[in-house]
């Protein structure tokens, strides 16, 4: 009798365990340490806000497992494998740096698990075997929107200075792409590195070309360096940049010299200033509230919002996928992948998402607004 009881208990335990297994399990990788951590930490906070906002789909609880990749692609690969093979996750979300994200995507494709990338992914996926999508606005779009604004402001001669890396190339190529339209000319292609101590030489060369405006292809705090040098040399023209510049330390370091710069950024950056009719306004304010509640901090960056939008894409796809398959199964992963790639007109806080097989990115020009730095605060410029 006693044996019988313990057997029932055992079976009961197993059943309980397997129902717990039926939760949707999400593997989230981000860079909480290493050079990518200034972006990775906000990504982590964003996902906490998203969990706070919505932690179940159609009554199915969501279980989140978070791992740190230390900004290292090989650690990201190991984490992705561990999450899939040991934790049997239904979906991967990650990570802060582009190389790590691409590494994770390769694992996801190999092991047939859908993945939502929160960093930009370059290239063309194979439409028949695509397992990943990317949330952020692609760099080409970021630059295109800025370039269109320069065109609207009737700027003809553009000076360019950016990082001597892939990001600098992306912004430069974006500016080059609109050259010739309405007489826009890119006069210089000056480069500097994040740890450089001076850009005097580059700035002198730009000033010698007498541009109407200068486009900055830097990021974060050190994006302010060319602006400070331009200010020192008394440059009076306009300055433009991309969302890569938007962080509190850029404003602090740039001070007066950064004043007036116009950048393209996701609408969430200026959520309060958006008109009520804007698609992102309501959700962005809810996101801010959830972020405050989950992290006990006000949200000031755009990065955490990418995690949040990734979560929105996942929950909306999961709601549809649950109709055909149970979480934790191969069928569910496939259904989830198909539904993610079938996302239509989904409003997030950054963009309206439309995914289809054959492309990583699924955003259009609605995903960006122009904001201007006025008295140290980003101001919406319709």
């Amino acid at each position: 009798m006693r044996k019988m009881l313990s057997l029932t208990a055992l079976i009961g335990g197993l059943v309980a365990a397997s129902t717990a297994q039926a939760d949707i399990t999400i593997g989230f990788v981000t860079s909480l340490s290493g050079p990518g951590s200034s972006i990775g930490i906000p990504y982590g906070r964003g996902i906490q806000a998203a969990m706070e906002y919505k932690n179940e789909v159609n009554g199915e609880k969501i279980k989140l497992i978070q791992l740190d990749d230390g900004s290292d692609p090989s650690a990201a690969t190991r984490n992705a494998r561990k999450l899939i093979e040991e934790e049997k996750v239904d979906l991967l979300i990650g990570t802060a740096t582009a190389p790590s994200t691409i590494a994770m995507l390769a694992v996801a494709t190999e092991l047939k698990v859908p993945m939502i990338a929160v960093s930009p992914v370059i290239g063309q996926p194979n439409p028949t075997d695509q397992w990943g999508i990317s949330v952020p606005q692609p760099a080409s779009l970021l630059v295109k929107v800025v370039a269109d604004r320069m065109k609207r402001d009737a700027m003809k001669n553009i000076g360019y200075i950016g990082y001597s890396d892939a990001w600098g190339d992306l912004v430069y190529n974006g500016a080059k792409a609109v050259e010739g339209e309405d007489g826009i000319k890119v006069l210089t292609n000056e480069r500097y590195a994040r740890v450089d101590t001076s850009v005097t030489g580059q700035i002198l060369k730009i000033l010698a070309a007498r541009p109407d405006a200068v486009l900055i292809g830097g990021s974060g705090t050190q994006g302010a360096l060319p602006l400070l040098a331009l200010g020192e040399r008394g440059f009076k023209g306009k300055t433009y940049g991309t969302v890569a510049l938007v962080n509190p330390d850029f404003v602090r370091v740039g001070g007066k010299a950064a004043e007036g710069i116009q950048v393209s950024a996701g609408p969430v950056i200026v959520a309060e200033q958006l008109p009520d009719s804007h698609f992102a306004k309501k959700l962005a304010l809810e996101f801010r509230a959830a972020y405050q509640k989950a992290n006990n901090l006000p949200s000031t960056d755009g990065f955490s919002a990418y995690s949040f939008d990734g979560w929105m894409i996942f929950t909306s796809a999961a709601a549809r996928a649950l109709k055909t398959a149970k979480p934790g199964t191969i069928e569910f992963r496939k259904a989830l992948r198909d539904e993610i790639l079938n996302t239509k007109e989904l409003s997030g806080v950054h963009a309206v998402y439309n995914f289809k097989p054959g492309a990583y990115h699924g955003v259009d020009e609605r995903a960006l607004v122009i904001v201007r730095l006025v008295n140290g605060a980003w101001t919406y410029q319709p």
């Binding site: 590195a193 101590t197 001076s198 005097t200």
Partner: protein, 347 residues
Amino acid sequence: MTADIAAILAIDGIATGAVYALVAIGTVLIFTVTRVIFIPFGDIAAFTALTLAALDARQLPGTVGLVVVLACMACLMEVVSLARAGELRAVPKAVLFYLVLPLIVVGTVWLTMRFTPPMPVRIVLALLLILPISPLLDRIVFRPIADASVLLLLTVSVALHFALVGLGLLFFGPEGVRTEPLTSMAMEIAGVHVSGQTVLILAAALVFSGLLFLFFDFTLIGKALRATALNRTGARLMGIRPARAGTIAYLLGSLMAGVSGILIAPVNTIFYDSGFLLGLKAFVGAIVGGMTSYPGAALGAFGVGLLESFASFQSSTLKDVIVFSLLIPVLLWRSLASQHSEEEVEE
């Protein structure tokens, strides 16, 4: 390029070169006395800037934690090695030097922070906090392998640099800092605008190299350091302890690195990992000077600064390539022209 532009570039290059010169002289100093090519030297400069910025922001700088941890480790190692050698009488002195002194510095900073001290005091505090780091690292890392080959010391030094960068991220965070300008003065020299900061950097480089010259020629400790640099065994026979000479060299070197860190902090944004490139370019300058001569290292560093400045105007993408390519002909010339030193024969 017009004459105006050339003048501006030259001034910019000299200012950068002066910062490199301070670090290069420190590198040469430590190398000649201890045979260690101290790669983390640039990191020390960057950490000083970050410490000063934290003090400016009325925060307790991350350096405090670093110094406390290093002091405890160094003290433990020293006490254990003394105990093994059976020299228990020397233990209180070791504790005083390796634990109590650094902790007094930390305590001073902690106490002074409550009174929001003025700028000059903050600079002194930042320098005081930075000074113990390299001697403590020397005790923990280099003392146990003091007699190893230069190559091994270099390898360990590179590893130490990576460890320090990691610790820098831990203690200072990933964001860059820029401190308040030391002076807002500016002047015109022959129609070219020169900022007070540039003048200050140049003056500091000259003053510190001058002081170092006086120190080496007119004090007993300075002469002892020179003796150790020339011949370790000989110096030992004359009653000079190489370990003590090494500590003094590290202290002096840290002071130079710290001063250069404080001088560049208002001109440029400093990150926890900014030090490496700074140290590397100073190292190129030191190599141009042959790694043994102070005026040579200083001149080499100014050359690197000027080259970098003009290269950034001519072809900004290839700037660093140009600077580091300078090493190849210099190394070729050095290895063809110079005699092999006594030490290489030893190995």
